[in-house]
């Protein structure tokens, strides 16, 4: 077991529980390797930063413009596509 294998494991299986013998070996390596620990920690923090960064809220104006665009579209009645039309005619 070396850092190269640990690197792949870190990136492939972050936050996923893997219990195979190979993965147990990799986890054992990480537990004993400060470089891999630091790397795993930084990858986890990268994911967490993006996951928790606040996203924009949809404003009333954006909602209103969406409904306007859809009202124009919905003048046309919704029709089944040819695929579902075939299925319905069976």
């Amino acid at each position: 077991m070396n850092c190269r294998q640990a690197y792949r494991f870190i990136c492939d299986n972050l936050d996923e529980k893997i219990t195979s013998a190979r993965c147990r070996g990799i986890r054992k390596h990480i537990a004993c390797c400060p470089r891999c620990q630091a790397y795993l920690d930084s990858v986890k923090k990268t994911v967490r930063l993006y996951r928790t960064a606040p996203g924009p809220k949809l404003s009333r104006m954006v909602h209103r413009d969406l409904m306007k665009a859809l009202n124009v579209e919905m003048v046309q009645p919704l029709k089944p596509t040819s695929k579902s039309a075939c299925r319905n005619s069976r």
């Binding site: 070396n2 850092c3 190269r4 690197y7 792949r8 990136c11 492939d12 972050l14 996923e16 400060p34 470089r35 891999c36 630091a38 790397y39 920690d41 930084s42 990858v43 923090k45 990268t46 994911v47 967490r48 930063l49 993006y50 996951r51 928790t52 960064a53 606040p54 996203g55 924009p56 809220k57 949809l58 954006v62 909602h63 413009d65 969406l66 409904m67 665009a69 859809l70 579209e73 919905m74 009645p77 919704l78 029709k79 089944p80 596509t81 695929k83 579902s84 299925r87």
Partner: protein
């Protein structure tokens, strides 16, 4: 009769497919925030996110007749919004990096030891740090540099919290291909943020 807000997606879809416009509007109300946020995370621009939101629901309306309920509505919706985003991004040719991120498959190494990995630990990132302008800019810059085919996998899997299987299904990729892109995307973003967070740690000491 139950109000539209209390009905399941399947009930609303069934009613909308029979021509009930209010049922369709209820579906829009239920998912517009999700679609808008996802679009914004993909294109990093409020105007483009708004345009993508409208195009997505127009496409959903046009294609709703063919939705057969075999997959979850949210998976189907993500497929449509993702296709819209990818088509627009490719058309605008805003991919800053032309080369795929193959270099992130393996760490540059010497004698089995990581060269790229830092010995220095990253600082803890409390919630209020997220609000700093510098960090928001760093996050934006990093993800904007990530090629769109990688960005979409990272956002679906790590930001939206979809499983790897569902991410692969939405993008019509094999699970292995989705994992490979995810690995490269995470490594790329981590490397982009590394100097900023280490510098920040030094600055605050």
């Amino acid at each position: 009769m139950r109000s539209y807000a209390d009905q399941t997606d399947q009930q609303l879809i069934g009613a909308a497919q029979k021509g009930d416009r209010q049922a369709f509007t209820a579906l829009v109300n239920r998912y517009e925030q999700t679609v808008y946020r996802f679009s914004f995370k993909m294109c990093r621009d409020p105007e483009k996110a708004k345009e993508n939101l409208q195009d997505t629901f127009i496409n959903v309306y046009r294609k709703l007749g063919s939705f057969d309920g075999k997959s979850k509505f949210s998976t189907w919706l993500y497929t449509i919004v993702t296709n819209n985003c990818l088509m627009k991004q490719r058309r605008r040719k805003i991919q800053e990096l032309e080369d795929p991120l193959e270099m992130y498959d393996d760490p540059p190494e010497q004698d089995g030891r990581l060269k790229r990995a830092p010995v220095a630990r990253w600082e803890e990132t409390p919630a209020d740090l997220l609000l700093t302008k510098e960090l928001r800019s760093a996050l934006n810059r990093a993800i904007s540099k990530l090629p769109v085919d990688y960005r979409v996998v990272f956002i679906l899997r790590d930001v939206e919290g979809k499983s790897t299987d569902e991410t692969a299904k939405i993008l019509k990729l094999s699970v292995e291909a989705a994992k490979s892109r995810l690995r490269r995307a995470r490594a790329f973003l981590r490397d982009q943020l590394h100097p900023y967070l280490v510098m920040h740690e030094k600055a605050t000491k």
